[in-house]
């Protein structure tokens, strides 16, 4: 089996780290070529890398058994992949539960086709949402409402893979004809081994301090300000020992807001936001951490790449009780209500800060659980098994899609009726004639 694996490789997106790990796991069982838009900060790989911008190379796609598209909500990273998907059906790996930002930028800005964007919204969500979208593009409104608009990632898919059961319900749009599957993300490529005690020293963390780390790109949904607020609510003996480090960067306004919160609470000497880090420096912070905090509200990702990364360490993790995070057993991740403003975060952190033994036992138990669930070989086997099932179901999906031939020549007001007629006829056809 030959697989064309479309993905960004840029170190600026977490999807690249996951995707390379997944592609390598799959390549242990079948042939995998990576297709990407080469960028200066691309992660290195031993797999063959092909340039998706080259039309001559794209003419090779029919030679693959499966084309796999990694899709996420960042137009910078996925617009070129979406371009190829629109003309070549394939298996979609859907990383985010919403594509609203991607679709708005892709159609209304990059393709200057706001009418198509408006019509998609009208078709999927009704005229009111579409009218708001038009007003938003004209800067007369600020929001289209909470619609995921990931449907355009499905209609040309031969199958869809997500990474959590709650994301599965969003993509199971054509039950009975298009396969969907939730496969847990695999662990990322192994981090460079680092010395915990040496790293703590180099990072300026003393032995009696308790280091709480969040990482990844900062956004409102990651609840940094609420975590800072929680530090102020800790018992004095815990507050005096804690250091909270955000190992990552974000928009300067977000960083300033979190630091202003810390200054206002007299905690600015306890809080550090590092800015974007190299992989080596990032793993120095992760390896030095005593506790991780990984919150989401709202939760828009199919799973959490940063959580998978944290799970490689024997360190307890405080998370929001939502989506992918809620799929763990009770005695592993430490869960808090997603909308908490600080009280529950503080209540979860306090015992972990004060009791070293508790940190070790929870961290090791969580790591042991994760080691079996997110094993890379397991991912490879599940993914290839899924592709085999997609092969088996392909003739039926192709037969259904073929029913749409010629619809473009029919007056729009008669299309719905014609589709119903063709489907009815198809269902009355003996199976042997369509398989």
């Amino acid at each position: 089996m030959r697989v064309a694996w479309f993905t960004p490789l840029s170190a600026r997106t977490g999807i690249a780290k996951y995707s390379l790990s997944a592609a390598l796991a799959v390549s242990q069982l079948v042939d995998v070529d990576v297709w990407t838009t080469p960028r200066e900060d691309d992660l290195e790989t031993s797999l063959t890398v092909r340039d998706l911008r080259d039309p001559r190379q794209l003419s090779d796609l029919p030679g693959y058994d499966h084309v796999v598209y990694n899709m996420g909500n960042s137009p910078d990273m996925h617009a070129d992949i979406f371009d190829v998907y629109l003309h070549n059906p394939g298996v979609v790996i859907q990383h985010d539960k919403t594509m609203a930002h991607f679709m708005r930028v892709y159609y209304a800005v990059l393709r200057s086709d706001h009418r198509r964007y408006r019509d998609f919204l009208a078709h999927y969500y009704g005229p009111d949402i579409a009218a708001r979208a038009s007003r938003q593009i004209l800067a007369l409104d600020t929001h289209t409402g909470e619609v995921p608009l990931l449907e355009p990632c499905l209609w040309n898919a031969t199958a869809v893979v997500v990474h959590s059961l709650d994301a599965l319900t969003l993509v199971d749009r054509y039950p009975g004809i298009m396969l969907v599957e939730s496969i847990d993300l695999p662990f990322y490529l192994p981090a460079k081994p680092s010395s915990r005690s040496k790293d703590r020293g180099l990072l300026g963390i003393s032995d009696d301090e308790v280091l709480v780390v969040s990482h990844g790109r900062m956004s409102d949904s990651k609840r940094m300000e609420q975590t800072v607020r929680a530090l102020a609510l800790l018992p004095a003996e815990a507050r005096d020992r804690v250091r909270f480090v955000v190992a990552g960067g974000g928009h300067p306004a977000l960083i300033e807001r979190a630091m202003a919160e810390a200054r206002g609470l007299g905690l600015d000497d306890r809080v550090l936001i590092t800015g974007f880090l190299s992989e080596k420096d990032l793993h120095a912070w992760l390896g030095a951490a005593d506790i991780f905090v990984n919150l989401r509200h709202p939760s828009t990702e199919s799973a959490s790449g940063s959580l998978i990364e944290q799970l490689t360490y024997p360190t307890p993790i405080v998370v929001s009780d939502v989506g992918f995070y809620a799929s763990f057993p009770d005695d592993t991740l430490v869960r808090i209500p997603p909308a908490d403003e600080g009280e529950a975060i503080a209540a979860a952190l306090a015992p972990l800060i004060l009791q070293e033994e508790l940190r070790h036992s929870v961290g090791e138990r969580t790591q042991a659980y994760a080691a079996t669930r997110f094993d890379r070989e397991l991912y490879g086997r599940k993914f290839v098994s899924f592709l085999n099932r997609v092969d088996a179901a392909r003739s039926r999906l192709s037969a259904v899609d073929a029913l749409g031939e010629g619809l473009l020549g029919i007056p729009p007001e008669k299309v719905r009726e014609e589709v119903s007629r063709r489907v009815e006829e198809f269902l009355l056809t003996p199976k042997s004639e369509v398989s």
């Binding site: 009418r115 198509r116 408006r118 019509d119 998609f120 009208a122 078709h123 005229p127 579409a130 009218a131 038009s134 007003r135 004209l138 800067a139 007369l140 449907e151 355009p152 499905l154 209609w155 040309n156 749009r173 054509y174 039950p175 009975g176 004809i177 298009m178 259904v400 899609d401 029913l403 749409g404 619809l407 473009l408 729009p412 007001e413 299309v415 719905r416 589709v419 119903s420 063709r422 489907v423 009815e424 198809f426 269902l427």
Partner: protein
């Protein structure tokens, strides 16, 4: 196949075919199909253009006040 399963399958197939149609139809056919043809967002476009141009029109000595008076008349007459 039970009736429930068959209905689900029928809905699935119809949904897939209609979504593929919407994604590939040209502007005219698509907007007629989804019901946005002749929709009211031209008002938003016109309003946006007028708002953008108004500071320049206003600066023209005779035309500016005249446009304003016409606008006021249109608004009061409910046209």
């Amino acid at each position: 196949m039970s009736h429930g399963t068959e209905n689900t399958l029928r809905e699935s197939m119809e949904r897939r075919l209609l979504e593929r149609y919407v994604s590939t139809a040209d502007d005219k056919a698509r907007s007629a199909f989804v019901g946005t043809q002749g929709s009211a967002d031209w008002k938003a476009v016109a309003a946006s253009a007028a708002l953008g141009l108004w500071p320049r029109i206003k600066a023209i000595p005779v035309l500016g006040p005249a446009v304003y008076q016409v606008f006021t008349w249109v608004r009061k007459s409910g046209a």
